[in-house]
Symmetry: C2
Subunit: 239 residues, 2 copies
């Protein structure tokens, strides 16, 4: 265990008590795709490097999320429009699938044990992560960051706020293209993505939901490629 | 994917919208260890079969949780007393440890990336689970249960209410003695515990916190031993 000095309890205790409230601010709050998050079907949207976007899907619509440069992890969440306390939940999803990573055709389960989305296509080698929390300011503090640092947790909160919604929690994300191998001793490693430029996944909404995405701003460990440079990803919504 | 008929959407939508509210009721609500959950140090308490208990710990105190019969899974949570939105979080804990299961000496991290407890002793072979959601009524519905069924999620909610507290969410539990092996293809299996009668773990509080435990009421699949009979566990708190 690291020494106690790595935990700045005074600073931690000054940050928001609620898990819905961001610990800081970036461009995400001012750049929704539309005032309420409704997309233009077929239009290509950017999730800028280090930022987040949220988009409203109707049941039956499909979102294609594109790893434009091939090296970028995209943290992804889904919340039911009818009740945001129902969300894509990997502790429930892993149990349903008896697997750590979903494959094409698999339902992505909510915390009410029903499909909120389905993974309908994946042109990448299928290496994604459902084990690791979204990066958050607390994570960057343990890595030595003293000021603010963009984070996937805040990008979720800000992207939801930007379309007039609220994330009730920061659930375990579906970390697209994040490469976390597990060995026989149940230890894990942190590796760069194995996807190639232009790889995409498609997720079909099984209920009306808000999908939030964050282009992971991790630039200290090489989870977004060996050069530690976060870049943008793109998405499109289809009927 | 199972057929759509396994998801009773109408019934799911009638259950509480909040994740803090139980979906039903059992003896847990009427059987706190004391009105506010403060323990008598050194006293042995029972978590009855199919039920839950919550106990307040001061920083530095240790709870010993005993698998009295050796076959029982005990779902365990910890919430900061100062701010229950800070809780033991396995998506953060797995990341901190780069492992799926903690070992003796490991900190058990909160969602604010600091230790909320430490695993200080374990007489069992060390097989526990951090991957699977607490069982909940939704789980039993997918297993064909038509009425109410006790669940770890409701035991958490009721045990917290019983001492005048509230669980803001149902986080991924520390599933003591739950045996979920992961294979090289990242698939998991569901196996009976490998612990023996009287095995215990000790968890030391690193901050004032409420620890909640549920004697898992799963009696349909053999996760609590091959005979599918949930039984009681015990706990004691030490200075």
């Amino acid at each position: 265990m690291p020494s106690e000095a790595r935990f700045d309890h005074a600073r931690i205790d000054q940050l928001p008590r609620s898990n819905s409230e961001p610990c800081g601010h970036n461009h995400t709050l001012e750049t929704p795709i539309s005032p309420d998050g409704t997309p233009v079907l077929g239009k290509r949207y950017e999730v800028a490097a280090r930022g987040g976007k949220a988009v409203r899907l109707k049941a039956g619509q499909t979102i294609r999320i594109i790893n434009t440069h091939g090296t970028q992890v995209c943290d992804t969440w889904a919340f039911s429009t009818a009740n945001p306390n129902e969300f894509m939940s990997w502790e429930h999803g892993r149990a349903w699938l008896s697997a750590l990573i979903p494959q094409v055709g698999d339902p992505l389960m909510s915390n009410r044990r029903r499909p909120i989305m389905t993974l309908t296509a994946d042109t990448s080698p299928g290496i994604h992560d459902t084990l690791m929390a979204a990066c958050d300011l607390f994570r960057y503090m343990t890595l030595g960051v003293e000021g603010y640092h963009d984070s996937c947790a805040d990008n979720l909160r800000l992207a939801m706020q930007a379309i007039g919604a609220e994330a009730p929690e920061v659930p375990q994300p579906f970390n697209l293209w994040m490469n976390i191998p597990v060995n026989a001793e149940m230890k894990v490693d942190w590796c760069p993505p194995v996807s190639k430029p232009g790889d995409y996944v498609e997720l079909r909404a099984e209920m009306d939901c808000i999908v939030a995405m964050s282009s992971c701003p991790q630039d200290i460990i090489p989870i977004n490629g060996a050069d530690c440079v976060p870049v943008e990803v793109h998405f499109e919504v289809y009927k």
